[in-house]
Symmetry: C2
Amino acid sequence: MGNPTSGQEATDHVAKILREAIRAGEMAPGHRLVEFDLADRYGVTRAAVRGALLDLTGEGLVERIANRGARVRVIPLEEAVQIVECRAALEGLCAARAAEHVQDADRELLRAIGAGMREAVGSGDVMSYSKLNQQLHAHILRLSGQKVAAGLLERLNAQIVRHQFRLSLRPGRPQTSLPEHLALIEAVCSGDAPAAERAAREHLASVAEALRRSTEEK
Amino acid sequence: MGNPTSGQEATDHVAKILREAIRAGEMAPGHRLVEFDLADRYGVTRAAVRGALLDLTGEGLVERIANRGARVRVIPLEEAVQIVECRAALEGLCAARAAEHVQDADRELLRAIGAGMREAVGSGDVMSYSKLNQQLHAHILRLSGQKVAAGLLERLNAQIVRHQFRLSLRPGRPQTSLPEHLALIEAVCSGDAPAAERAAREHLASVAEALRRSTEEK
DNA sequence: GGCGAAGAAAGTGTCAACAATCCTGAGAGC
DNA sequence: GCTCTCAGGATTGTTGACACTTTCTTCGCC
């Protein structure tokens, strides 16, 4: 089952590795992605790397300049804010739909996540909180049944994970976002679609605001 | 200046032709896209066609199955409805922002489009109405300054133009959508962001509803 | 006649060499 | 000291042949 050195599978494999590396910040924005080096490092052909870079370009994670190669795309703060605004619109939609579809089992699950979040913030465990945050959003998307919106959100999220991760490390940020998350959970669980939409949008408006503020300071 | 037979330029050229052909319905959903044939028809190399198909796949217009080639993707009605719902969320955002940025020159332009629409519907000129419709949406996007949302909407629109075009030909449909468009224009012009968002969302909710209904009949 | 294997046909997928392009830095000329 | 030019090297872009997969067709066998 050793990964092949080329082919569609290899392309996907490399794309996955690179996505993860970019997400984790191992490859900083602006970092050059030389086809030959990557092929060498991951033991695949240059064609596979090339394909992966093409894919990632389509996803907006990588930027290519003709004859000059690819690099990790730098997402300006202004764009990151717009991305969050789009997320607000789309997650608002999903939260509303999720509230319409919620079942008892889902309520239990969501509230368990909420409890975990409260605990994580209480003990200052930022990593756990971040994980639960992802789980929460993922569950709401699944509940909403909105596959198109989920696809768009996945793309958008991949582009700003770095910005958002940095944000989550700021002192006081979890204390701000926790009540917003809890409000979202309660709104969805109560089946109140307009309230759920409002909660999702308010939460993301708060993220956008925090992002904007992070320009001045830093 | 004759178009090259290969290279990035040729790839883009072919992608553009295919996009247009799919949009115009010359290539029905499900239509097979054989690399060699297309290369022959458009006088480019197979590599160029291949690249174009890869791009279009990323845009969701084309579907590829390993070793079996590409075909025009069939967008099920259920998905088309979800796309319209996403559009509602995103265009709502854009309409609100547009209302915040609107200037006198823009008001004149938007109202001129509105007047043109009224006239087109009055004289039953569906083609003009459709064109003006596109112009209206494009202007609102530009006004909003939301480049990210504009990019997402472009992708989404490309996927459902066919559904939407068929819809616009239904008797009575223009009469329904005209007042919605006029309301949107007035809301944006008056600078009332929440009203503009509401108008955009109501309009697209009506489109979604019409789409859903078109399943039963036909 | 029905069934399945084998072979041909149609297309797509891959590769490795080659071509084109862009950056770098050294050196000539002003 | 400054600019301009031009090899040289590093990297990306392209190509055409070939390998592989899937599908279609034919033919032999029961």
